[in-house]
Symmetry: C2
C-alpha cells in the first residue's frame, strides 16, 4: 500500500494540567481528531497533500479553541491580525499572508496568494484587498470574538506586555498547523495563527515565513512550527530541518531533534514542530511541557496527545 | 594581520550596456566605492561587522541611484514602501521591517528593531509607529521622489503590471546590500530595498526575511541577495548557502554557485548575492547579465564592477 499520513498541531507551551479540565482536554482532543479525519479522508481518496493540509487547518481555524481564525487573540488595538502560510513540496510553490483582518480562513487566502497573486507573501490591508478581489470569505469582528481571548487581552491592554497566549499558569503558543504526505509521494505544510495577545507594530512571526514556521520539499520533509516566533525566524527552523536531512543525511527524527532541542533553546526558542517525510514517518517534537498534537496514517487511527 | 573584508551590491538583472552612459556607469561605481570605503574605515578601526554593513547600506540608501531609501520605486498607490533587514552572525540576532514609509534609512530602523523591539520583523504603519517612538529620522514624500522612478511608475500605473525596476531594456532588481567580516571574527549582513514598481497588496519580498534575502552566521558566512524576491523566498536562498557550508562542507564559492546557478533558475530566480566567510573570502555571484557590486579587503583597494 502506498503510504500516506497527516499530522496536526494546535500550539505548544507550558500547559498546566491543573488548568485543563477533563472536559476542556476532551474538547481539544476532539478538535485535533476532527482535523485529522478531514485531511485523512481527502488523502484516502487520492487528493493532494496540499488539499489535505489546507482542509485540516481550516477545521482548526474554525474552532475558537485555538489561536487561529475564529478565536484569534487580540492585538494592542483590540483587533485580530492573523498570519498563515502554505507550501507545496512538489514544486516549491508557496503563499503566505501577514497581519490580515476579517478573513474567515487565512490559510485559504494563503493558498490563493500562492496560486493567483504572483507573490509569495502579502500583508495587512493589501492582503485584505486581495482577499476581497478574490472573493475569499470574510467575517465581521463579532465572528472572531471569543470571551476567553478578550479577557486575556483586558489583563494586558495599555501595557507594553505581549502575551504568547497566556492564561493563568498557561504559557501557550496557540498556532495551528498541518503536514501531510499524499499517495502520489508529495508533501505539503500549512500553518495559521493569531499571533501574540497585545502585539504591536504589526509584528510578523514565523508562521507566514517560508523556511521559518512553514516549509515543504518533496526531497525531504514537510514541517509546521509553533512557539516563540522570533526564535524560529532567527533559526530559520523549518528549512534547517530540511537542510540537515538533505545535506547531512540525518533522518527526520534526528533532524527535528537537533533543531528543537539544540538550535532553538539558546535563542529562547520554546515550542515545537510537526513533521512528515517522504516515507510517511511522522515526528511530533517539542521542548515545552506540552503540544496539542495528533497524527493519522493509512490505518485511519487518530493518535492525539497534549502532554509528553 | 587579522583579515577583514566588506562587500556591497546595488542590485542585479538584465543591464543593457547601451542604456548605461559612461557618466552613469561612473556614478554607480563611485557610489559603490563610497559605501565600501565607509564600511572599510569602520572595520579598520576595529568596529563591528554590524556597524560596517549598516553604514555601507546607509550610503547606498542615501543616493537616488539605487532602489532603496531615497530613490525607491513607486508602489501602485504612488507611495514608497521599503523593506530592510540586518543580521548579526555572532549571536544570530536579527531585525527587519517590511513596507515602511517615510523612514530615511530603513536599515537603521531594522537595526533598532533587532535591538529594541523584542521582535524580529515588523511592518507597515506599525513599523512607522515604532520608528516614530524610537526617534528614527523621518523624511517627507518629496525626499524620496526621483523623476526617473516616477516616470517608470507612470508607464505602468493603473495596470496590473509590476516592474522589477524596469527601464527600457533594463530588467533590474534594485536592492542594495552589504556583508562584512570584522577583525574580531564576526560576520554581519544587511539588505534594503524599495521593492517592485507598481507593487500591490503590501507585497513582502525576500530582503527583510531572515534566511531568504539576508542571513549571517559566524559559523559559516554572511549573505545579502538581490533578484526576483519570490524565488529567493521559496528557495530560502541565503540560509541554503549557510546550510551547504555547515552540513555538506562546501566552500563559500561552491555553496553560492549551487544556490545561484542550480537552485534559483528552476524557480525563475534571476539575480545574485554577495557573500563573505569567516576567513574573509568574498564571493559576488549572479545569474543575470549584471550586478552592481564591489568589495574591499584589508588592503583597502575598492574593486567595483557591473557586468561579468
Amino acid at each position: 500500500m502506498t503510504p500516506f499520513a497527516i499530522a496536526v498541531h494546535g500550539g505548544a507551551g507550558t500547559i498546566d494540567r491543573a488548568d485543563l479540565t477533563p472536559e476542556r482536554e476532551q474538547a481539544y482532543q476532539h478538535a485535533l481528531a476532527d482535523a485529522l479525519r478531514r485531511g485523512h479522508a481527502l488523502l484516502q481518496d487520492g487528493a493532494s497533500a496540499l488539499d489535505a493540509v489546507e482542509a485540516a487547518v481550516r477545521v482548526l481555524e474554525d474552532t475558537p479553541l485555538f489561536n487561529a481564525g475564529r478565536g484569534s487573540v487580540f492585538n494592542a488595538d483590540g483587533q485580530h491580525e492573523m498570519d498563515a502560510a502554505i507550501m507545496d513540496g512538489s514544486g516549491l510553490q508557496a503563499g503566505g499572508v501577514a497581519g490580515v483582518q476579517n478573513v474567515k480562513n487565512p490559510i485559504r487566502l494563503a493558498r490563493r496568494v500562492m496560486e493567483k497573486s504572483g507573490h509569495v507573501l502579502i500583508s495587512g490591508m493589501g492582503a485584505f484587498e486581495f482577499a476581497h478581489r478574490e472573493k475569499i470569505e470574510l467575517e465581521d469582528d463579532q465572528y472572531f470574538f471569543d470571551p476567553f481571548r478578550y479577557e486575556q487581552w483586558q489583563r494586558v491592554q495599555g501595557t507594553d506586555a505581549t502575551r504568547l497566549d497566556h492564561s493563568g499558569g498557561e504559557r501557550k503558543f496557540g498556532t495551528v498547523g498541518a503536514v501531510a504526505l499524499d499517495r502520489h509521494g508529495h508533501l505539503a505544510a500549512a500553518t495559521s495563527t493569531g499571533g501574540m495577545t497585545n502585539k504591536r507594530y504589526q509584528r510578523i512571526g514565523d508562521s507566514p515565513v517560508i523556511g521559518a514556521g512553514t516549509y515543504a520539499n518533496d526531497a525531504t520533509c514537510a514541517i509546521s512550527c509553533t512557539g516563540n516566533g522570533e526564535a524560529f525566524l532567527r533559526a530559520v527552523a523549518a528549512h534547517d530541518v530540511h537542510a540537515l536531512m538533505a545535506y547531512k543525511g540525518l533522518s527526520l527524527d534526528e533532524a527535528v531533534r537537533v533543531v528543537v532541542h539544540e538550535r532553538l533553546p539558546p535563542l529562547d526558542g520554546e515550542g515545537g514542530m510537526i513533521a512528515v517525510d517522504r516515507a510517511g514517518r511522522v515526528v511530533l517534537d517539542f521542548n515545552s511541557t506540552g503540544m496539542y498534537r495528533g497524527s493519522m496514517g493509512a490505518d485511519g487511527v487518530a493518535r492525539t496527545a497534549i502532554f509528553r
